[in-house]
């Protein structure tokens, strides 16, 4: 059981009309690991995630998620996963708390209110909890989105480009969230077009290019594909990101700007974590 991968993908193909988006994709994701699917726009990342999360049917090939075949047992797959799509899937008319309560009710959990309050605290959204999600910043919305995905503790989480469109601070917040998730044993499959994101987070990285996986390995393995490192002396210039983060503070707390009079210390531990 332990050796069996949480996600197993074999020969998945998918075409839209004449365009073949996936041309036979194979990979395994070990339970409890973070697996990054790296690829440029149009590489087929989202299509693959949609197939694995039962939103789309593959033309050929098989895939199992949490030991369930996605085509034969979509209901069981849905019980085992959570999808955080490319666009934050929050209800903008509802408040943050109402969004969480809604999902908890739809997952038929007891005491949805307590679950919501707990997640609001974990994602530093307690103060904003009663505000409409439409008023949230991009980072807060993403945090709420991921919080909604955690309800019911699904063993596998799909994150489709979780940090696209976020500012650097919000991106770091999301990274910290994802790391914590994997530490608690959740299997994470994330897609990204940012090399740094894969480097920061992933235990294994697969490069999806033109519908197939062209490389799959750990960061060290991928680095060994290139000629051995040469020693060169280069004057170290701070990157613009370093400068930006140094100037605005590296805490990644976008919502405190709106509410400086935070009474409790809910965010304190995250400030030192980087």
């Amino acid at each position: 059981m332990i050796a069996e991968p949480a996600i197993q993908v074999r020969g998945i193909e998918k075409s839209f009309k004449d365009v073949q988006v996936l041309r036979g994709v194979d990979f395994d994701v070990k339970a409890g690991s973070i697996f990054a699917l790296l690829g440029s726009n149009g590489a087929g990342k989202t299509t693959l995630v949609r197939i694995l999360s039962t939103l789309l049917k593959a033309d050929a090939g098989t895939a199992t998620v949490h030991h369930f075949d996605v085509a034969a047992k979509p209901g069981d797959v849905r019980e085992s996963i959570s999808l955080t799509g490319q666009f934050a899937a929050v209800d903008e008319v509802l408040s943050g708390r109402e969004n969480l309560v809604l999902i908890a009710k739809l997952r038929h959990l007891k005491d949805p209110g307590a679950i919501a309050d707990d997640l609001l605290a974990r994602f530093s959204l307690t103060e904003a909890g009663s505000r409409k999600a439409a008023t949230y910043s991009g980072g807060m919305r993403r945090r709420l989105d991921i919080a909604m995905s955690l309800i019911g503790n699904p063993p596998i989480i799909f994150l489709d480009e979780p940090t696209t469109g976020l500012d650097p601070q919000a991106r770091i917040e999301v990274w910290q969230t994802i790391k914590k998730l994997a530490d608690s044993g959740t299997t994470v499959l994330l897609t990204t077009q940012y090399l740094e994101e894969a480097e920061q987070l992933a235990d294994r990285i697969a490069i999806l290019h033109k519908g197939t996986i062209i490389q799959n390995g750990t960061l060290t393995e991928l680095k060994q594909l290139l000629p051995p490192a040469k020693v060169e002396y280069v004057e170290k210039q701070p990157s613009l990101e370093d400068v930006f983060l140094a100037l605005v503070g590296d805490t990644g707390e976008t919502d405190t700007t709106a509410n400086d009079d935070r009474p409790d210390g809910t965010v304190a531990p995250r400030k030192e974590s980087r």
Binding site: G85, V93, I103, L106
Partner: protein, 254 residues
């Protein structure tokens, strides 16, 4: 999974009803146009219209106004469904272990509730303007039943529009011809006053039989065969629209 269908539908209906409570303008704008039409027809045009009956003109035209209210109200149903599809929330629901039909049914039940509220508002204004009826409880229930059937039939049409639209405007544009249909019916003037081909169309389109039935129920007159023609139209439209909506939905989620 299916044993949760009712509960899931309830939760999701609660969600979209909350949307309406937070933007009551959707109900108000739905009611405003029919009320304006009612004022225009009763106080401006109505004096010149000969309905050939002793009824006051507002009694004569209220059934048509109610149908116009519902026809404009369902545009919001298509609009809300379209917005759910546009945002990621629809996909989130689809990737969760909930009954798939409950997402649609929640929109249908919300549409029913919102439209009935609009209809009640319009009837309230009509009462202020002098609408009177001696209809019995049974007749009122019959009117309510017909209006519910009419709302459901048009709502499933709205679901097709909401599922297949490419733009927000497209999602609600389909309702314009439906709003216009009562004008070419017995809703405002007797069909006998129309030229031949127009009168033929007016007499044989669904709105006329529905309007005549509701009018007869309000006036405590026998409904005659109108009610059966009306019911046949309503059930027919409902079944066909439902079938097409389900096909469109399947195509969307597979």
């Amino acid at each position: 999974m299916t044993n949760h269908a009712l509960g899931d539908t309830g939760v999701l209906t609660g969600r979209s009803l909350r949307h309406i409570l937070r933007s009551p303008d959707t109900i108000i704008t739905t009611a405003v146009t029919p009320i304006a039409l009612m004022l225009l027809f009763v106080y401006v045009l109505g004096g010149a219209i000969n309905t050939g009956s002793d009824e006051s003109y507002i009694n004569y035209m209220l059934p048509g106004i109610l149908l116009i209210t519902i026809a404009s109200g369902i545009a919001y149903t298509a609009y809300r469904l379209f917005l759910d599809l546009q945002g990621g929330i629809f996909e989130r629901f689809q990737s969760m272990p909930i009954a798939r039909s409950s997402v649609l049914w929640a929109h249908v039940l919300t549409s029913l509730t919102a439209n009935l509220v609009s209809v009640v508002i319009v009837i309230g204004v009509a009462l202020i303007m002098g609408f009177r009826t001696g209809a019995s409880v049974g007749a009122w229930l019959a009117v309510g039943g017909i209006l519910i059937l009419f709302t459901l039939a048009l709502t499933w049409l709205a679901v097709i529009a909401g599922l297949s639209a490419k733009t927000v405007d497209g999602a609600s544009a389909f309702s314009y011809p439906l709003i216009f249909l009562p004008f070419i019916s017995s809703a405002f003037v007797p069909t006998t006053s129309m030229p031949g081909p127009v009168a033929w169309f007016a007499e044989n389109q669904p709105v006329t039989s529905i309007v005549n039935t509701i009018r007869a129920l309000f006036a405590q007159q026998p409904v005659g065969s109108n009610i059966w023609i009306a019911l046949a139209w309503l059930v027919g439209i409902l079944v066909v629209a439902y079938a097409f909506a389900i096909v469109a939905y399947r195509r969307k989620i597979s």
